[in-house]
Amino acid sequence: MSDTATAQASQRDAPDPPPRSGRRPARIRFARLRDLVLVPAIVGIAVIGQLVSPVFLNRDNLINILQTMSEIALLVLAQTLVLVAGRMDLSLESTFGLAPGIAAWLTVAAGAGHGLGVLSGVWSVPITLLVGVLVGAANAVLIVRFGLNGFIVTLGMLIVLRGLLTGISGGQTFFGLPSSMMYLGTAVWLGLPASVWLCLALFAVGIVVLGYTRFGRALYAIGGNADAARAAGIRVERVLTIVLIVASVLAALGGLLLSGRLASVAAAQGNGYIFTVFAAAVIGGVSLNGGKGTVFGAFTGILLLYLIQNVLTLASVPAQWIGALNGAIILIALVLSRITSGKAQD
């Protein structure tokens, strides 16, 4: 969606600072200035949080926040890749439920956990990821091969996949998952939940791939101007296929983490997440028009949203007013951070 009407010319990112002289070894910068737009808002929320409750800055509470956001953060990462390439994938939220759902269905014993129990539990993780690959490939065939509109395809896919999960589960929750399915969602490595490590690591990989590889830059090029990218020799179809598959696999992985943490797969797992996912990415500076935004920015986006949630929870805001407050804070945070960063947006 283009919000290009207002003062195009003034909307560009401010140019980088002038080059420093001298040679430096190749190094990786995780964030550039324009990615830090949300930092003031995050700091602001943190300060308010600490005022609201001394628990806020507790190590435990901070870990909680990171852990609770880790699964959806993978969806945000996935969507960021797709958005940068100028597409969108709505079906991610249903892959997030369906992938572990199918794994549970096939591996959980019939009877109590109402699975089919036709496969041994060790297959559950490979199956989860495989479902991710298949969904991504199906999207890619319809969008890249047949040239169908990506929004429509993935919307249809979203409904189909969500429906499939309801179908195979009869709307019920799968529990009694095989232990291999639970591992990543529950393990603790060096005092931090494995899912937090995994999430941070994947974001770091995302930052490097998007900023420092030809593949990553090809995504920006395609999102910025697919014709020009093609003219520059980028294999647009192949890159798009890969990114759609990778995104679905990330979604499947995210779903696996959540299933592990909740020791179950609910028929509604992931429902409605796509909204938050888009919000986080866009708030974090990723453009719905493609070609713009960074993985680091997207991370600050989802972090901000979860910090706000946490602070509201700690504040024991009356249940009916949480929604309004949540929205108001998001709006204010955005307005402030965009105003302080001094530029109109697109």
């Binding site: 001394p54 609770t68 609910a266």
Partner: protein, 333 residues
């Protein structure tokens, strides 16, 4: 409360700190519960921390983490996904924080007490009432809740089972509505067009109340029970509007799901747990029975009476009159 031992969880005045998670805030039933909770906390001398998990078990889990960080001594929750709370319950158990679940019973894991009413009984009561009113023959529509809700499923299964067994000549059209009034109205409208001779409606929740009435009115079917065109409507929850409508003859019955007692006994069991009390299966002092649903899991099954205009007995199910002062829907301030 970070890092401090001992004193945590009890405020200066010595009141225990209890966390209550509300499952959602956008429905009449749960909002009554939300209103009752602080009221009973006051009466019981409890300090409250409250959260809202907005029908999302992942949020519930996060909220419970927050409770733990804040040092609560006990937790009351109403997990709408009864399987996925298991790890959360384990964590609370490990921290020795007693839990009372309201409205739902966890599929696995231990809690101190389950406070709920028998949702299967709701379905059965509705079935018996409609069966009796229709004299065992005709067509009824069941506006179900969400497929992913244990309560919804219990109500659906019990209603279907009871109909099959007792009223085989009644045809039931079951419609999933996802607890959404607009969807319910849309499906009912389609069925009424297809089968203008539908004689009964069972709504599994008060969500569908206004839309259903409006639809019947539009079709000239919202007429007194004596009229042969009357369609019998049974609702569920017992919010004030339902009681009013029963008295006015616009709908015929509801099952009063005790929002007040849910709040009251959830909190009082949490307090009892903190105080170290224990309970055994058997009748309670408040007209209900504690049953052991599985080893280590007790459930206080509160009364959820069928409410009708006349307070008569239908198919063996006794009912109370809609103006009965014992109904929570008649006592809301």
């Amino acid at each position: 409360a970070c890092g401090d031992s001992g004193g945590a969880g009890a405020s200066a005045d010595g009141k225990p700190l209890v966390g209550v998670d509300y499952p959602r805030s956008d429905t009449d039933f749960w909002n009554s519960y939300i209103k009752y909770t602080p009221q009973f906390a006051g009466e019981l001398g409890i300090d409250l921390k409250t959260t809202n998990s907005q029908n999302d078990v992942a949020k519930l889990t996060a909220n419970v983490q927050t409770f733990i960080s804040q040092g609560v001594k006990g937790v009351a929750m109403a997990p709408q996904d009864t399987a996925a709370v298991a790890p959360t319950l384990q964590q609370l158990e490990a921290k020795k924080i007693p839990v009372v679940t309201v409205d739902t019973r966890p599929d696995t894991g231990n809690v101190f007490m389950v406070v709920r009413a028998d949702n299967r009984a709701y379905g059965e009561k509705a079935c018996q009432f409609l069966g009796a009113k229709l004299n065992g023959a005709g067509k009824v529509v069941m506006l179900q809740g969400g497929l992913d809700s244990i309560n919804g499923r219990d109500r659906t299964e019990a209603f279907n089972d009871c109909m099959k067994k007792n009223y085989p000549n009644i045809t039931v059209f079951g419609e999933a509505t996802n607890w959404d009034g607009a969807v319910a109205s849309q499906k009912l409208q389609t069925r009424l067009t297809e089968h203008p001779d539908i004689k009964g409606v069972y709504m599994q929740s008060s969500f569908a109340l206004a839309g259903t009435k409006q639809l019947l009115k539009q079709r000239g079917l919202l007429v007194p029970p004596a009229d042969p065109k009357h369609v019998f409507v049974v609702s569920n929850d017992g919010i004030p509007q339902e009681l009013k409508d029963i008295a006015a003859g616009e709908i015929d019955a509801t099952v009063s799901q005790p929002a007040d007692l849910y709040a009251k006994y959830a909190l009082s069991y949490v307090k009892d747990a903190i105080d170290g009390k224990t309970f055994q299966p058997g009748p309670t002092d408040h007209d209900s029975t504690i049953i052991q649903v599985r080893p280590g899991l007790l459930e206080d099954q509160l009364q959820a009476p069928l409410v009708t205009a006349d307070g008569a007995t239908y198919g063996g199910v006794p009912s109370v009159k809609s103006d009965d002062k014992s109904l929570w829907g008649n006592n809301l301030s």
